[in-house]
Symmetry: C2
Subunit: 126 residues, 2 copies
DNA sequence: GCGTGATTACTCGGATACAAGATGTCCGAGTTTGAGCGG
DNA sequence: CCGCTCAAACTCGGACATCTTGTATCCGAGTAATCACGC
């Protein structure tokens, strides 16, 4: 079980956007140079962050990406779930009654971690 | 981020072994029938549990698998790590100094979950 | 009845097959800004 | 100087390509118990 690289990139991107002046839009080319990634691949990640409402994009010349949410409120969990999705860690299809005790324990463990990640804001580490 | 199916199987297998009389060895065919899985695939999982020291195997006729550790001590974390490995959730290779703050936060979140899973024993749910 | 060998019931592990997801790349399409040009 | 057009600078998103990993199967090898057989 591991987070994808895209999740790591997303966290760094959000951290970068938070630490830059919030008015300024960052072009995808700027970000690509910053993180040594291809612009097209980065745009995939930013699309996900946009759909999650963390970032807003303005097309056209002078366009770019900027934060869409108040920077004090963006948590690690927000970013991670934007990229990884919200599917539960383990879905058990073995129990007939569809109510597996093992799955419940894993779900509780996941909640434990998510609580931690929800309280930890990106801005805290800057 | 999801646990593999094999992890789910492993948890169920250990639960089954705990609830069966501990002296009795379970053949892989018995387990395969129990969980509707192919014997050869199951043996892969049991090999991992064996290498982790949770289960012991005796080859030959009248052979089979049985618990190798005291059943009160086997935690969810033990089983999960036997199958999933112990690699950290996120490894950041972007920071030059190899000391990424983001990675530290994720590591702490993971510890939070692992603590929960280490205290929760399989026998608790039976 | 007692060894000895063959058969049977098991586990072990390498090789292979297939599907899905992660990780990118390529390219055409849409959108806004701004510069250039003609009246 | 005004308005129109066109190019430039952007994002958007679908279609690929490739690699790794998960999920499994097949099969031959090793190992221990048991059965059969001959002495």
């Amino acid at each position: 079980m591991k987070y994808t690289k895209a999740t790591n990139y997303a966290l760094h991107i959000i951290a970068y956007l938070i630490s830059s002046k919030s008015q300024e839009k960052s072009s995808i080319y700027t970000l690509a140079e910053q993180f040594k990634l291809s612009p097209t691949y980065l745009s995939k990640i930013l699309t996900q962050l946009t759909k999650a409402g963390l970032v807003s994009s303005t097309p056209g010349a002078k366009g770019g990406y900027q934060l869409a949410a108040p920077k004090e409120t963006i948590s690690f969990l927000d970013v991670i779930q934007a990229v990884e999705g919200r599917a539960p860690l383990l879905v058990c299809d073995m129990s007939v009654n569809h109510n597996c005790v093992i799955q419940q324990v894993i779900t509780n463990a996941e909640k434990e971690m998510n609580n931690f990640l929800a309280e930890k804001k990106i801005i805290d580490i800057l």
